[in-house]
Amino acid sequence: MTISLPPETSSPPRLQPSGWLRYFSFSVDHKVIGLQYLVCGFVFYLIGGALAGAIRTELTSPVSDFMARDVYNQVLTLHGTVMIFLWIVPVVNGAFGNYLIPFYVGARDMAFPRLNAVAFWLIPPAGLMLITSYFLTGAAQSGWTAYPPLSITTPATGQIIWILSVLLLGGSSIFGGINFIATILKLRRPGLKLMQLPMYCWAMLGTSILVVLSTPVLAGTLVLLSFDIVAHTGFFNPTLGGNVVVYQHLFWFYSHPAVYIMVLPAFGLVSEILPVHARKPLFGYVTMVYSIMAIVVLGLIVWAHHMFTSGTPPWMRLFFTIATAFIAVPTGIKFFNWLATLWGGRISLNSAMLFSCGFIVNFVLGGITGVALAQVPFDIHVHDTYFVVAHFHYIVFGGSVFVIFASVYHWYPKFTGRMLNEDLGRLHCALTFIGFNLCFGPQHWLGLNGMPRRVAEYDPQFTLINQISSVGALLMAISTLPFLWNVIHSALNGPVAGDNPWKALTPEWLTSSPPPVENWIGEAPLVEEPYGYGVPPGELDLSAASGRDLWSSGK
């Protein structure tokens, strides 16, 4: 039976540093690792943001005057790589996944804690290597896509370092994915059924399947690319008889799923946040699960929509158009379910909720432009233009980053035991939302009207719109200040949160804040209805409800 030890001696015989030092150690505690991912990712976010600032500064004028052109391409490449591989992927997967998944399955740690720590500790060296390459030899300058033959002909050292660090980060991501799959499928607390898991578990299961299936292909491809660079093979080198389009297929076989690796966990996090703050059950749990799985399957067979202008044959274009457009269906289902979750709720308009709603607005726009981009004739005009830049920033920034902030506001009390300041949070949200839309909204127009992406100089007719966009970027930069102040100040002086300030039902809230090393003192709770909020409709307080409340609930 349960071994119950007094709290003081309950720490297992592990020689781990305690106190703040443990965050710099090879800790195997999933909560420590989760926060390591989060803080490390945020540091890289600031670096990536500074790089974005450099890009937007260059683009305030139509000529290349702020930095040299090859430096511009290095900055651009670093920005993309840092944001994707060092910020979004580690944070939506590694940070929240590690912190939350063991709670959600009722376990005390991940399935493979040491592998978990290894996966995290691959990230800082890989990131440092990538960034120092800029100072030592010059960073890669062929974009985060590293299309050959450009990546073969630009300075080799930077490109090789880029490949090495992406390989390390890919390895980290695969280790993480294996760990999540094993934890979710194998470490569930007895009595907890799959269909009782919080939605984030499903999202992470789907994401991890994508990670395990697609990341190795990228790794293999990059190894081949590095052979082309150092051993002068000709896989992707046309002068040696190679085929550059094959690289694109292999690359996008990973990198389209990668966009779901960046956004499916965000979907899961939103599914956790909305019910709590709307005080309603998550609407349509079962369809949500199925749509995640549908996205996983479809996500693997749509990659060539990034290659409509690469000389792909017509049948291929047709197939990938239809497959891509159909991803919008399960994605749409999720959005309608979230709206239905909000409908009739008792919505607290706090920062977590507002960021989540910002996510919905932005992602809907990004999804709509995505469906448009899936149409070959439409894409042929706007491919590789600022329209695409706008599209994917609406998805990755407007989507994933907004959710990351929402999640920080939501789980900060659990992480630290203290509350964040809500007024600063709302200010942060408003500034980010306005800045974001000001920055990326106008870029749709730029792309439609003739501005290609990845340029340091452009047609002067686009100057004004680019300046507006840069102002938006500045606003976004400013918006991180209240956030940083809030997070640091509240950690020391914020009001004490208590165990469950949101009165939430999911298992991470059914323990102290911050939780003990073994997650729960005593046995793990069995949460069979993680979204069991709400008043049964029969007992509706009619004085507080109107006819439309009822209409909303169905027929």
Binding site: T2, R108, D109, F112, R114, R189, S214, L224
Partner: protein
């Protein structure tokens, strides 16, 4: 509450011998799926190259069958011998287990030697042409796996040296893991053989 699980059992499932070998095997299997996808990428590239990039005039890409067939036989037999080693350890027969392990590792190394012989007798080199490069990438990556597998087999052989060691009848996770890995490497070879040599 119906079932309660002792804390200890849910505790970190590896490290201690009495951990959860099933989870570790599950993790390994997941990893092998990932590993297989790397090969799938190479094979897809090879098949695409073959389909759309004709060999330039004068380029040589010819493979002989005898040596690879010998290699296939070596690996298939070694899979069987590893299986016998597993059976032996389950019967607590360390001596027999170690003999089979040694034979397996020997077969693996014979494979590597024979692969080297093939490499040096091929009429083309790594950078000669597209097919040649892909051939070397795929077989080389596989050879790396065989090397690793042979090393793992030898480590298990060492670990199984005494009845109280890390590999026992009751708990032989290292052997099980190495065995699964070895079968996987053989399976990949069969696919590789079909795609590279027969198609």
């Amino acid at each position: 509450m119906t079932t309660t699980v002792p804390i200890k059992e849910q505790e970190h499932s590896h490290g201690e011998h009495a951990g959860h070998p099933d989870h570790r095997m599950f993790g390994l299997a997941t990893f092998l799926v990932a590993d297989a996808m790397t090969f799938a990428g190479f094979f897809a590239a090879y098949l695409t190259f073959k389909a759309v990039n004709p060999l330039p005039d004068g380029a040589i890409y010819e493979l002989e069958l005898p040596l690879p067939i010998l290699n296939t036989v070596l690996l298939l037999v070694s899979s069987a011998t590893f299986h016998r080693a597993g059976q032996a350890i389950r019967q607590d027969d360390h001596g027999r287990c170690r003999r089979w392990l040694l034979i397996t590792a020997g077969l693996g190394m014979a494979f590597l030697v024979s692969q080297m012989v093939e490499y040096f007798t091929l009429p083309f080199g790594l950078t000669d042409n597209l097919y040649a490069s892909t051939f070397f990438a795929a077989t080389g990556f596989h050879g790396l796996h065989v090397t690793l597998g042979a090393l793992m087999t030898l480590i298990v052989w060492w670990q199984a040296r005494q009845p109280q060691g890390r590999v026992t009848a009751a708990d032989h996770f290292p052997l099980e893991a190495a065995e699964l890995y070895w079968h996987f490497v053989d399976g990949i070879w069969v696919i590789l053989f079909v795609i590279l040599y027969l198609l």
